[in-house]
Amino acid sequence: MPASKTKKTGKTITIDAKGVYYRELNHSIRTALKAGGKEFHLKNINGQRYIGDGLVGRDVRITIDGVPGNDLGAFMDGPTIVVNSNAQDGISNTMNDGKIIIHGDAGDVLGYGMRGGKLFVRGDVGYRVGIHMKEFKAKIPVIIAGGVAGDFLGEYMAGGILILLGEKKKNEMMVGDYLGTGMHGGVIYLKYSDDIKEDRLGKEVAVMELDDADNKVLDKLLKEYCQDFRMDYDKTRQQRFVKLKPVSHRPYGKLYAY
């Protein structure tokens, strides 16, 4: 197992991860972080898991060339991670704070139990995205995806904001089935589309028009998103959006005999 090659130029710590096992790689990052490193550039990443897992600190920034493996930024609390390509499953798992920017597509189960921070994906996302996201006081997690999403988007969602911009290829569906199933908090903003059909929705949610407060939220978040991906904000914002919200905060309130 080759050890990771770490190099420091100016403030940036560059790590060549070619052929390096994830445990070794993440150990190098943690060690450099302990020594005061803040800026990381990971090169030749090829499926290494758990990058950024449990890292703390808002001033930490990790740029990744190549496709990182599952659980990117799991339990993370503060850092920013920029992935210059696609990424895999389990990104932002139980993340508390920080920001992850994916310049390509991302996989399944993104933002599971995420409590804070932001996950911006330029392209498509897989199944079960935003599952059981929650919010607490000032902590409101945000996931924005530019493309289409798979089944179970926002399943069990208890808080937070999920935005789907819905850029899609011909014959593609913007959303899958079981949209917002079990959702009991938070909000999903979707680009308006014929793909949002009644029979695709979880029984706990309803489609509604935006109000002023919603528009303000969208203005702010989409500006940031478009800036990060150098997209045309006006064009993105111009599209019609609808929101998906739970019809009851207590969908499980009447199940039991006491």
Binding site: V56, N96, A158, H249, A257
Partner: protein, 502 residues
């Protein structure tokens, strides 16, 4: 609402001669079973037999009886079945219950007896000689390798993985703050800390006031991920992934919004009054490989400093499941049998799903030994360990340590009324109502828990002595020191024990 026609289960009798009308009983009852006009007036149908009024009455004037109301006897249509149907017909809801399975299934602990030394192999007096109860939880290496430096000094070459010391092989059960009160959580945390054992946070996080006891806590990560964050993970000495619970295998949990007060909200990190839903599965675990991913995500997050436990319910193929868990990289496997407790579960699930811990434990220990991986993980057995007798038998069947939940609650005052899910616990344990939680003095509860651990440990030492061994290691997995009474051949075979007399 139409008045319920279900007859009461209990009868509250207040002795008019003795009663001085001080109303303490009325104030102590949170279930509405005692009212006051010009005298104490019981409302039998609300009584749950929690005994709080009995304990509070200075005149010993209250008696709770089982209702003498006769039902026409029927061996199949028991009173419980009839009452359950009546209740469901009135409400349309699932029947809820608390605590462990109360059905009269065969309890295998009660069919196992312990050996003792006589004549040729002397027993040991634990009052005179040291008895080693210390236990280390965590993965043990396949072999130990040593190297010697140029001065001939030997040192250990094998890299050891983290192990956690227990002064006595017992841990408190996972009971979340939310299902039980902060005072109860505090008492468990402090008693574990002072007794050198472990408490388990359950899936509701750890209150910041209790971080000081964190080094003696197992911090749980469940499907709802409530209160799970980096600081929390770093507080505990063991991280536990909760997959299943013996009282309700295969289903999720649901803490109703009424119990999410300000403190619970802070600790779980969810808004006040919102429902806390723990989905049945972890939605990122669909295979052993996925489980491995979460185990290592947690190990990475805590820099490989803490053993990771995986807790599952005892179900039919538990041996294969446990093998998969160990191969996934868990350092501890916690198995919760079907008599394990709960704060709330549908009665039908509690009483009908899963298998007994005795069978599960024996099967898992056996399987891991046969596969040559028993050293890779500790086994913790849970699910109604009622006395040090059960404890010893569990250790002999192969457990590294046992879990006590209900026993710990009883030590704090619980009377096993099985109404934990109501949130009205008159003993201040399974409630968030501040008037009720104030009834549990955490200092007193801590002492009572410590007393229980001490008393059982003394008994354990006595039993080790009569077995002629001086350390827990000589008992662990030693089924030769057990015999079966009243078990079938196949039952004894699964437990790996001979019949008495053999």
């Amino acid at each position: 609402m139409v008045k319920s026609t279900i007859p009461p289960m209990f009868q509250v009798v207040v002795d008019k001669e003795k009663c001085r009308k001080c109303k303490r009983c009325v104030m102590s009852c949170s279930y509405g079973a005692l009212g006051f006009t010009d005298r104490v007036v019981p409302d039998d149908k609300n009584c749950v037999a929690c005994h709080r009024c009995v304990a509070m009455c200075p005149e010993n004037a209250i008696m709770i009886n089982e209702s003498p109301l006769a039902y026409r006897p029927h061996a199949s249509w028991t009173v419980e079945h009839r009452q359950g149907i009546l209740k469901q017909a009135e409400t349309g809801g699932m029947l809820l219950t608390g605590m462990g399975n109360d059905k009269p299934y065969k309890i295998f602990w009660d069919h196992l007896v312990i050996d003792a030394c006589q004549v040729t192999n002397p027993s040991i007096d634990p009052l005179r000689e040291p008895m080693e109860l210390r236990t280390y939880l965590g993965s043990k290496p396949d072999k130990l390798e040593f190297e010697t430096d140029k001065n001939g000094q030997p040192s250990l070459k094998t890299q050891l993985t983290p192990n956690i010391l227990l002064e006595t092989p017992i841990v408190f059960a996972a009971m979340s703050f939310g299902s039980i009160s902060l005072n109860a959580h505090r008492a468990l945390a402090r008693a574990a800390y002072e007794s050198g054992i472990l408490m388990n946070t359950g899936e509701g996080g750890l209150h910041k006031d209790l971080y000081k006891y964190g080094e003696r806590a197992i911090v749980q990560v469940a499907s709802g991920r409530f209160g799970v964050h980096q600081e929390y993970l770093n507080q505990g000495s063991v991280i536990e992934i909760k997959v299943g619970q013996g009282a309700k295998p295969g289903i999720g949990g649901h803490l109703p919004g009424e119990k999410i007060n300000s403190e619970v909200s802070q600790t779980r990190m969810i808004p006040i009054g919102s429902d806390a839903l723990s989905p049945a599965p972890h939605h990122d675990i669909y295979s052993i490989e996925d489980l491995r991913q979460l185990i290592y995500a947690l190990k990475e997050a805590t820099n490989y400093q803490k053993p990771v436990s995986v807790k599952v319910s005892a179900v039919h193929n538990i041996a294969a499941i446990a093998s998969g868990i160990v191969r996934a990289g868990a350092d501890i496997v916690t198995i919760d049998g079907f008599r394990g407790g709960t704060g709330a579960a549908p009665t039908i699930i509690r009483d009908n799903v899963g298998i007994p811990i005795e069978m599960a434990l024996a099967a898992v220990d056996d399987r891991l030994r046969k596969e040559g991986i028993r050293n890779q993980a500790s086994i913790i057995a849970a699910g109604s360990i009622r006395s040090s007798g059960d404890w010893v038998k569990a250790l002999a069947l192969g457990a590294d340590a046992v879990v006590i939940g209900t026993a710990a609650l009883i030590a704090m005052g619980c009377r096993v009324c099985q109404k934990c899910y109501m949130g009205k616990c008159t003993w201040g344990i399974a409630t968030q109502n501040p008037q009720l939680t104030a009834r549990l003095n955490p200092e007193v509860a801590t002492e009572r828990l410590k007393n229980l651990i001490r008393a059982w440990s003394l008994e354990l030492k006595e039993i080790l002595g009569l077995l002629g061994v001086n350390s827990i290691e000589s008992l662990r997995g030693n089924r030769e020191r057990l015999r079966a009474i009243g078990l079938t051949d196949s039952e004894a075979n699964i437990l790996g024990v001979k019949h008495a007399g053999e």
